[in-house]
């Protein structure tokens, strides 16, 4: 294989166009970086390549000859191999068994496992990456993350007889230490030297600039930039990633934040983040910015009382809630990050999803439910969030992603909260629903609800927030006013390339 090319790739989920006419060319011996903000379409593109998700339209050629890619088997036959963020290993089996998992087990007498042959072949596969320090007989679960990654890679090259020609790596360094990442880069260069093409997906600008030969940037499902690495720069990539017009898309603030403190957080440490301190006034919106996994979700969970933390949280002058149930009772609403896993009961009616935290309030003395009152409340809130559904009684799982998120928002606004905690409020939401959600956040703030919002969509964070709290290297690096801030400058602050203090 010299070149695997896809062109005109279209993919929609319901009304949301996730990928629009994407072209991508992967050449033998080249590392091709794929970049873009969350929701830009990277993961969908990978799923299409893996044959997990069918494209609506796509032309795929290998050295000019057209091929079809509809199932995972097609992907394997084309020589595509995937290294996902979550490493697929079986921790209870040995390294050798993991490496040869998808092959026929070497046998003696036709039925007994030939352990010696197994270890030898696994050892050979590992040696190709210079990973001779890994014992093929060790339990895979006892390995460090970096060594697990090498085990997975060894499994990919040992997997079958089709020579792997394209490696797709999705955030491979996300969980690796610096030394482990360096070893991985050496392996990548080794693969490259043997003529493999590598599609490298990462948020980490530094390493992309270091190892990639070409770069493609996706923005809102379309290619915003595609060129040789030598023809662009960090700044160029950032500009391509964020290049949306911030001013127009976000409704302007209509009222000024009130006086007093709704929320007072002092020296909070939760998950990977520590040293977080801020005070929030009624109607004020503070944004949490940082690389993915910097502790944004954990900070919100800690304020919600759903996660162990140190430091103090005071809500309206009292100690913060001790559980999510406490939080909802004291007027705190929460929109979780993963709406399908953490937000919704997909099999249950929309109305039930909306009123769940408010069941007691809508009942007679907390003892007797009033289905009609619940329905009326769900319908009213549904209208408020411009929910599109046939009936409030249909199950939440039948809605599109954007409408599902509106259900979660309807739940949040139903109690007229004093404080709203929003984790990635527009994640995987189409453009139309996004605008509605922005409108809702503004309305909430206009009514005096204080908002803490985590988002990896930087223009959105700047467009809605009054102030932005920047997390860097596990600590609060500072709080900057959102007014007049550009996405590129904010991203530079997150990477540590621009000083936060200078802006504050």
């Amino acid at each position: 294989m010299r070149e695997l090319k896809i062109s005109g790739l279209d993919k929609s989920y319901g009304p949301a166009r996730v990928l629009r006419g994407v072209d991508l060319g992967l050449r033998a011996g080249e590392v091709h970086a794929l970049m873009g903000e969350n929701g830009a379409g990277k993961s969908t593109l990978i799923k299409v390549l893996a044959g997990i998700v069918p494209a609506d339209a796509m032309r795929l050629t290998v050295d000019g000859a057209e091929h079809r890619l509809v199932t995972p088997d097609d992907a394997a036959a084309l020589g595509l191999r995937f290294v996902h963020q979550e490493l697929n290993i079986v921790p209870s089996l040995s390294v050798a068994e993991n490496i040869l998992l998808s092959r026929r087990t070497p046998r003696r007498l036709g039925f007994a496992v030939d352990w010696r042959a197994m270890k030898q072949r696994a050892g050979e596969a590992l040696a190709r990456f210079g990973a001779t320090h890994i014992d093929p007989g060790a339990r895979a679960g006892s390995l460090s993350t970096g060594d697990r990654m090498l085990t997975v890679l060894a499994g990919l090259v040992a997997a079958d007889d089709t020579a792997p020609s394209v490696f797709v790596m999705d955030e491979p360094t996300a969980a690796l230490t610096h030394a482990e990442a360096e070893r991985l880069f050496a392996v990548i260069r080794e693969l490259q030297a043997r003529g493999a093409a590598i599609l490298y997906v990462s948020h980490r600008m530094g390493e992309v600039v270091e190892i990639a030969d070409r770069v493609t940037v996706l923005r809102d499902g379309a290619v915003a930039l595609s060129c040789a690495m030598s023809q662009t720069s960090k700044e160029g990539i950032i500009a391509a990633m964020t290049g949306r017009d911030v001013a127009d898309a976000y409704p302007a603030r209509q009222t000024e934040p009130g006086q007093g403190a709704v929320l007072d957080v002092r020296d909070l440490a939760a998950g990977p983040a520590s040293g977080v301190s801020f005070t929030l006034r009624p109607g004020e919106i503070i944004g949490l910015a940082g690389l993915e996994g910097s502790g944004q979700s954990e900070i919100l969970r800690a304020i919600l009382g759903d996660m162990p933390c140190s430091g103090t949280v005071r809500h309206e002058g009292r100690a913060g809630p001790r559980s999510a149930a406490d939080a909802w009772l004291s007027g705190i609403a929460y929109v979780p990050r993963e709406r399908r896993r953490e937000g919704l009961m997909l099999s249950r009616a929309i109305s039930h999803n909306v009123v769940l935290p408010h069941l007691s309030r809508l009942s007679l003395a907390g003892l007797w439910s009033r289905p009609r009152a619940e329905r009326a409340e769900a319908e009213a809130r549904g209208r408020e969030v411009r929910l599109k559904c046939e009936s409030i009684g249909q199950s939440a799982g039948t809605l599109s992603g954007g409408n599902q998120q509106k259900v979660v928002f309807a739940r949040a606004i139903a109690g007229a909260p004093r404080l709203a905690l929003l984790d990635e409020p527009t994640r995987g939401v189409d453009v139309g629903a996004r605008a509605d959600i922005y409108g809702m956040i503004r309305t909430l703030s206009g009514q005096g609800t204080a908002v803490v919002m985590a988002s990896s969509d930087l223009p959105e964070l700047i467009g809605l927030s009054d102030r932005i709290l920047i997390l860097r290297a596990g600590r609060q690096a500072g709080i900057v006013p959102a007014q007049g801030l550009g996405p590129a400058r904010l991203l530079a602050m997150i990477y540590g390339d621009a000083s936060v203090e200078a802006a504050a």
Binding site: L304, D306, S323, A324, A325, A327, W328, L329, Y334, P336, R341, E342, G343, L344, M345, L346, S347, R348, H352, L356, P357, L359, S360, S363, G366, L367, W368, S369, S395, R411
Partner: protein
């Protein structure tokens, strides 16, 4: 709706109707009579009580394997206290209390410690079964040790014209009413279904998951104890294994009921249909002198058919 989705939704109901028609044709004089049907309700009353309260934990996506052992234990506790000379009311209260405590233990293991319900209640099933032997010393307690006022209850009935509605049937109806109200008409019940829908989402939306699950297991323990006492009253004796058979049948009834609900969720009225299906099947087969082993084969087949017809819709959607 497609044929497949109709079958999915109404397959069990159709099977139920077919069974009734079959027995009515083959037993024209004895099957569809008020007397026989009332007799069936009495026969299934203990199973019904266990199955109704089992619906409560299954609404949360959990289940309880220890109900049979709890029923045996409650019967034995009451009988042992009768022997010790306790007043009937007090002994009954103690037996019900034992059921609630047993349920509480299940709840703590599942909800507070987070052990899988299958493992936790498999363990407590053995523990409660063993305790029933310890309490009764392994003997069957019967005869004069059982007060007439206790065993007489199961023989009593409400006279309505020329119909006699058995007292045990009335108990089952009362439990049905309570569980229906709890599951369908209270915020508590709605929250249980929310937990069953997505426990993580329910917790983050302010549901006190730990407390609610704990309480649900107590309900099931209480239901099992009531059933154990009904059984002991009916046979005027108590032995340490007499309730054991209830568990599998109760779970089967809830599953049969689930195949009839719109979203495939355990609903107590669906469970009632499951109970009646098993009860009428038993009754009809006995009257037709069918071997009881054949009955086991049939029950198993029916459950598999019912659940399989529920899968039909899923396949046609792919």
């Amino acid at each position: 709706m497609t044929l497949a989705s109709h079958l999915r939704r109404y397959g069990t109901l159709l099977g139920f109707a077919a069974m009734v028609v079959f027995f009515a044709l083959n037993l024209p004089d004895t099957f569809l009579t008020a007397r026989n049907l009332l007799n069936v309700t009495q026969q299934v009353s203990m199973l019904a009580v266990v199955a109704f309260t089992m619906t409560v934990v299954m609404a949360m996506g959990d289940f309880d394997l220890s109900v049979g052992a709890m029923a045996s234990l409650a019967g034995v506790v009451a009988a042992t206290l009768f022997v010790a000379g306790w007043p009937v009311g007090l002994a009954i209260a103690a037996a019900l209390g034992a059921g609630v405590l047993a349920g509480l233990l299940n709840g703590v293991l599942v909800s507070v410690l987070g052990i899988l319900p299958f493992v936790a209640t498999l363990g407590t099933m053995t523990v409660f079964g063993g305790l029933a032997f310890v309490v009764s010393d392994g003997r069957t307690i019967f005869g004069r040790d059982i007060p007439a006022s206790f065993s007489g209850f199961a023989r009593s009935a409400l006279e309505a014209g020329d119909l006699r509605i058995p007292a045990l049937t009335l108990v089952a109806v009362a439990v049905l009413a309570v569980i229906w109200v709890v599951l369908e008409q209270t915020p508590y019940g709605r929250r249980l279904y929310a937990i069953g829908g997505n426990i993580e989402a329910a917790r983050l939306a302010g549901t006190r998951v730990v407390k609610l699950r704990l309480l649900a297991f107590c309900f099931t323990g209480l239901g099992a104890a009531i059933a154990g006492l009904m059984y002991a009253s009916r046979v005027a004796s108590a032995n340490p294994t007499q309730g054991d058979g209830l568990m599998l049948d109760a779970i089967a009834c809830v599953f049969l009921g689930m195949t009839m609900s719109e979203e495939g969720e355990p609903r107590v009225l669906g469970t009632l249909l499951g109970v009646l299906l098993l009860g009428l099947l038993d009754n009809g087969l006995t009257q037709m002198n069918v071997d009881s082993y054949i009955r086991e084969v049939l029950v198993g087949t029916i459950i598999i058919l019912a659940v399989a017809s529920g899968r039909l819709g899923v396949f046609s959607r792919r």
